[in-house]
Amino acid sequence: MKASLHFNLIRKEEILSPSPVRLRVMLPILSLLLVAALAVWWMLALTRAHAANQKLAAVNAEIESLSRSHQTVLSLCAEEKELSASLRQIGFYTNALTRFGGLLSGLPEHVPADIQITELYVPPPAPPPAPAPMPGVKAAAPTSTFECVSLRLAGRAGGDAPADAVDSLLTALRKPDFTNLIVRAAVPPGAFRQEAARGQGNRNTLLFEIQCDCVPRRFE
């Protein structure tokens, strides 16, 4: 029986790798290179951050130097906005102006001789409706753009045909002389009646009222 005998005459640390690059040497070198590369990267990042901060300081300094001129422009803009808004608000008022002079001066021509006007009344504007309450917000002005205007004529009609005289006045109020201001004229129910209080001699005298709806004031 043959038996082979193996002698290992080379020591473990004397064994050389077939590779020319030895891990034992390369690993520390690569590690140190990595650290060096990271250090360079860090320095680069610090330099860039410093440069960026300097640039930011320069831009801020430029902003600071322009701030006075900019403030002037801003105050001009703010003044223009404020004045424009005021003009718009007063514009709402001027657009809602109503002229009664023409209507009042033209009225006598159309009142028949049998009619005596005893009262002419344009009521004051109704107070604006209260806006919906909002907690913590004080309403400064109404949001309504519309205000009704009306005219009431009251008087006596006599003569042979007082009803015709009142009708004639009513028809005149619907003519183009007045339609620029009056949109609707009517005798309200029960407003044309006999004047009972003044005794026997005035039985033919009738009292009347004419209610006119005028063109509304539009605050637009």
Binding site: I63, F92, P108, P142
Partner: protein
Amino acid sequence: MSISLDILKDRHNPYRLTVMISAAAMIAALTLIYFGILPARDRLDAARKEIGQAKSRLVSMQAAIGGTDRQRQKTDSVRAAHQKLLSAGLLTPLLGSYAMRGKQLLDPIAREAGFIIDGVKELPSQPIRLPAPPPEQLYARQPVEFTGRGAYTQIVAFVKLTETSLPLATLSSIKILGQPQTPEKHKALIAFEWPAVGEKRQPAAKAKDK
């Protein structure tokens, strides 16, 4: 782990130094990354972002400053229009009284028309609708009531003359009552209204601060 510990324990092991250097280098690298590079990059990013914002602000400021003359002309023209409108018919109180200012304005007109003013009364003011955006200085409608006497033609002349000579005054209400004792002379309650300076509104930002 047990292998590396064995290597470190064995002073004659050629890999001992390799492992120690590599481990130290790895620790140093991680320290550099976490405590050096990442914060520096964050600072750089923040600075770049701030530079971008500052630059855009600078550009907008430069553009605004470039239009100063145009803005000044625009503001001047609006200011002139505003002043013209106010001087045309804004009602200002006379020694604190709108009624007395109204009387001062309408007395000459009443004399010209032949209407006799017996009394003047200041009525409560009414707000005017707000535009959007609203101004800080608000204006209101200020009515003033004139009580007087005159023939119908004189009353009408008073109204017409007021409307023509005071362009911002408008008839707010009128009541002409025939008098049985003096059929030719009527009693009249005439209220005219003008725009007047109202309250000052708190700007939204200031109001919030309070």
